[in-house]
Symmetry: C2
Subunit: 241 residues, 2 copies
DNA sequence: TTCCTTATGTACGCTGGGGAACATAACAAC
DNA sequence: GTTGTTATGTTCCCCAGCGTACATAAGGAA
């Protein structure tokens, strides 16, 4: 019932806290399981909770027009969902939606604000993450502008793998298309190429990464670039090799 | 010599400070004139100063590949250049370059860190701006992905006009192309259309906005969207009508 | 004036991805 | 099994923007 992932230490930000700060935070944390598609907040509406993902993965989406959106950020165990709260702002222009089901620690905004104000070390960790996230968003802007669907697909799969720490996960082409802001057909074609090369394998919403090195080779430099920034901020926290 | 623009009050963030905080900040501020093309910081290198623009305008650029970059943010009197410092980070993955010459207040990073740590109100103002900037970057990501050169050009001109508070400024098509991440030819064509419609007028690097309303009509919703977020954070600070 | 540099105009073929439609295949419910 | 639903494969046309090349024109320097 209360597995490893449902403990605060499973989140990177919380894991860096001192014993004292940690004890202060614990009673406010609510272990939850996020399901695929859960919306944590909508653009413009008030943010009610912040989330510290464990093995869940959350997408930040920007809305362009009524029906067009694109992912600009991906948050996993290394971060927190609800950065605007840390900035003293109560809403976000983005949509936060669960892309990979899994565990997370939830905390009400009011409680978070109280604890946050009292804990400089938590502030430092959160702001460092804010910097990483900002970098990710900026790089994604350029990536969306310049790089091919195939490269972006590869990047997205890698980023997901880094966060869920598994090489198999459930995702349809349709969903990937929504994230990348392209047609489903575009994803199918790019994925098909990767499958022929035995880099990935997939069937009806199930994707397996067979050759991570080859996947890295087929993505753009954006992947490593953002990764390095995260590693610097998380004190050299390495990802799987 | 020491004109209106070279006084701290000319910057929106500084203008909101209390008398006491303001007096504490003043001795650390260095009035400077930024010239077109001045690089305030390079990706990866240490940030040495933060800047509070008055009527100068600074672009934040993301580097995609060796020779390709795209603007993801535009900062004027409403903000501060050097947000990573507020996050406790010493470098930025972005390039900050002066796009519109003018006045700014400069402050050494060490001095800023000291004052910043002591002034909750300054922190609040800076973090609110960070939120606006983040929103701008995210929206730009989607805008770059979905919207046409013509719309993006119009948006860029409007954002610039908002910050310099003039309807005439110096910019070549070549430069605009670099900012938008498109070919110079693409800008020339889009600009030509706007000129035929008497929305703008230009000759050899000089651009005049003739019909602001028409320019707003030809841009995408991204412009108003980002504007609203800025207005909310700056306490309803209205831009020109 | 003349020359040179820089800014803008215009044309041409190419391609990645968009929109749309339809075919196939795998699973689920019955 | 049968049927319905959902995921993926494939095709066709279209166009915005790319890369490139070259023409014109406006200003500066002599």
């Amino acid at each position: 019932m209360f597995e490893l992932m449902h403990t605060p230490k499973a989140n990177g930000l919380l894991a860096t806290l001192s014993r004292k700060n940690y004890d202060e935070l614990i009673p406010q944390l609510d272990p939850v399981t996020l399901n695929f598609g859960d919306v944590l907040y909508e653009p413009g509406s008030r943010i009610r909770n912040v989330y510290f993902p464990a093995d869940s993965v959350i997408s930040l989406l920007t809305v362009a027009d009524t029906d067009r959106a694109a992912e600009v950020g991906l948050i996993g165990r290394e971060g927190i969902v609800g950065i605007p709260i840390a900035f003293g702002v109560s809403t976000s222009p983005l949509r936060a939606v669960c892309q990979g089901a899994g565990a997370a620690m939830r905390m009400e905004v009011a409680a978070f604000r109280r604890v946050f104000a009292k804990q400089p070390r938590l502030q430092a960790a959160v702001f460092r993450f804010a910097h990483s996230l900002m970098s990710q968003v900026a790089q994604t802007a350029a990536c969306n502008r310049y790089h091919r669907v195939g490269e972006r697909l590869a990047r997205w799969l890698l980023m997901t793998q880094d966060r869920v720490k598994r090489n198999e996960f459930r995702l349809t082409h349709e969903f990937l298309a929504k994230m990348l802001g392209v047609r489903r057909v575009g994803v199918s074609q790019a994925a098909s190429i990767l499958q022929k090369r035995k880099v990935i394998r997939y069937t009806r919403g199930n994707i397996v990464i067979l050759d991570r090195a080859a996947l890295i080779a087929s993505t753009c430099a954006c992947y490593e670039f953002v990764n390095r920034i995260y590693a610097e901020q998380n004190g050299g926290g390495k990802r799987r090799g």
